[in-house]
């Protein structure tokens, strides 16, 4: 070893050979990448239990010989597709839950059609979620239900839980759920009421186009897309890296439009007036005060979440009325908290140990 330069001279020929091989592999795999489609996502066997407009209720087929009494209903964020929680075998949160003996249902969203532009928060909180809960109860014959809400699905679950505080909510689990919308600083700036005319946008566009939702997410980290493409090219010889890249990239760009009136309410009530944090949120004239929730609550937040910063999510546990409540902060970002290698190691086992003893 050359001590002065710190270079391992003996390894240089090996390194050059390895880099030449990788360069050749990049060319071959690069062509394959363009010519092939990505892995099939969301393939855990399931049945459509109920579908109405933008709302789809799935029931995943049990794989364990014996399951917990209380079923789980996952409420997906309205901006994204639910298959982030069911990527591929071995990297699927749904598969993990099924193997650990849970009975799993998911409320997932299709793109709202132009004629669904008038859907409001009331439709989501007072109609879609209660309707799905009724379907789950009827299907499994159990009254109690555990809700798991991801991101804005967590906000909808919180609103539901606070309005229907007397049940049938048995447990509530939120992933990266914002409560203090003042702390979503960049989104606040994008939606600055002095310059952002939400009425004009909705009155002209109807529903909020998915491109706009995607751009607003990407603007939070404007260099990351270009950097990730450079990293993809460097690692294109590595099949596992490419598979993972394609899964996450496909999901991240598969953004849903948002119903116009619903977006108008989110902007005015949550972004501008911060009503959820200020205990002033109401849905359809019914006060949605999260201190009314007394069911056990687990809130999982990510240390490096750039979409829902910790300060925006922190008040959830402080404000919730339950005596059995816990916040768990895990390494990772907004997506890696719930999916991928990070989640397999950290969040999923934590959730299982918390929920198992509350699901009998």
């Amino acid at each position: 070893m050359n001590a002065a330069a710190g270079l391992d001279l003996l390894s240089i020929p090996d390194r050059i050979q390895s880099e030449v091989q990788r360069a050749i592999q990049r060319s071959i795999k690069g062509v394959e990448y363009i010519a092939s489609s990505g892995p099939s996502l969301g393939s855990t066997p399931k049945d459509i239990l109920h579908a109405r407009g933008t709302m789809n209720l799935y029931h995943y087929r049990a794989v364990a010989d014996e399951i917990y009494r209380v079923p789980i209903l996952i409420v997906m964020a309205t901006t994204n597709r639910g298959y982030i929680l069911d990527l591929v075998p071995g990297q699927s949160f749904i598969e993990f839950l099924l193997k650990r003996g849970y009975d799993v249902y998911m409320l997932d969203w299709s793109a709202p059609k132009p004629e669904e532009k008038s859907l409001r928060m009331e439709d989501y909180v007072l109609d879609f979620i209660p309707d799905c809960i009724r379907q789950v109860q009827r299907d499994c014959g159990v009254t109690d239900v555990t809700l798991i809400g991801y991101c804005f699905g967590g906000v909808l679950s919180l609103l539901y839980g606070s309005i229907f505080a007397d049940g049938p909510l048995k447990n509530l689990i939120c992933f990266t759920t914002p409560v203090d919308f003042r702390e979503m600083k960049l989104f606040q700036n994008f939606a600055d009421r002095r310059y952002f005319d939400v009425d004009r946008l909705i009155d002209s566009a109807g529903n909020v186009p998915p491109e706009m939702i995607l751009s607003s997410f990407e603007m939070l980290r404007p260099a990351s897309r270009a950097a990730s493409q450079v990293q993809l090219w460097e690692n294109i010889w590595n099949d596992e890296y490419v598979k993972s890249y394609r899964m996450f990239d496909r999901w991240a760009t598969d953004t849903l439009p948002l119903a116009g009136e619903y977006f108008r309410q989110i902007t005015k009530d949550l972004m501008w007036e911060n009503k959820l944090y200020n205990d002033a949120m109401s849905v359809g004239g019914r006060l949605a005060d999260i201190s009314r929730i007394t069911a056990p609550v687990l809130h999982a937040v990510a240390e490096h979440d750039h979409i829902v910063p910790y300060d925006a999510a922190k008040p959830l546990i402080q404000k919730i009325g339950s005596s059995d409540k816990q916040e768990v902060m895990l390494k990772g970002g907004h997506v890696s908290l719930v999916a991928g290698a990070n989640a397999i190691k950290r969040l999923w086992p934590k959730l299982d140990s918390w929920l198992g003893e509350r699901s009998t």
Partner: protein
């Protein structure tokens, strides 16, 4: 083991990572300003306005060509959606009736396991 601090490939990857972080931080600072919000929303407002005008013009053109207007298509879509919803409800009811009747193959999927599972004792099998 090779010294990563002098590996040109590792240095390049590190540089890309640092550049990404630096640019993101710089852009986030710039985007936090009211001027940015004003500029972005002005551009967005103009685009939305132009889209609306184009939509109105297309509507008039379609009426002139004796083609169904957007409102008529939306009306038809609403009716189709209502029919789809009713079909879904009928399907669910049929599945329920099949299950309740106890007929062979009477459930939507394979038989359900019993809901008797207990959480595992520390580091072991279910209780």
């Amino acid at each position: 083991m090779a010294d990563k601090s002098n590996d040109p490939v590792a240095m390049w990857q590190n540089m890309i990572g640092e550049m990404e972080k630096g640019f993101n931080a710089f852009a986030n600072q710039a985007m936090a300003s009211p001027e940015f919000s004003k500029a972005v929303n002005q551009v967005g407002g103009v685009t939305a306005g132009a889209q609306k005008q184009l939509g109105d013009m297309m509507e008039k053109y379609l009426v002139g060509m004796n083609l169904p207007s957007r409102a008529q298509m939306v009306g038809m879509a609403e009716r189709l959606q209502a029919i789809e919803g009713q079909l879904g409800e009928i399907k669910t009811l049929l599945h329920q009736m099949q299950r309740n009747s106890g007929a062979p193959g009477g459930s939507a999927g394979p038989p359900r396991p019993p809901r008797t599972r207990r959480p595992p004792v520390a580091g072991g099998e279910p209780k």
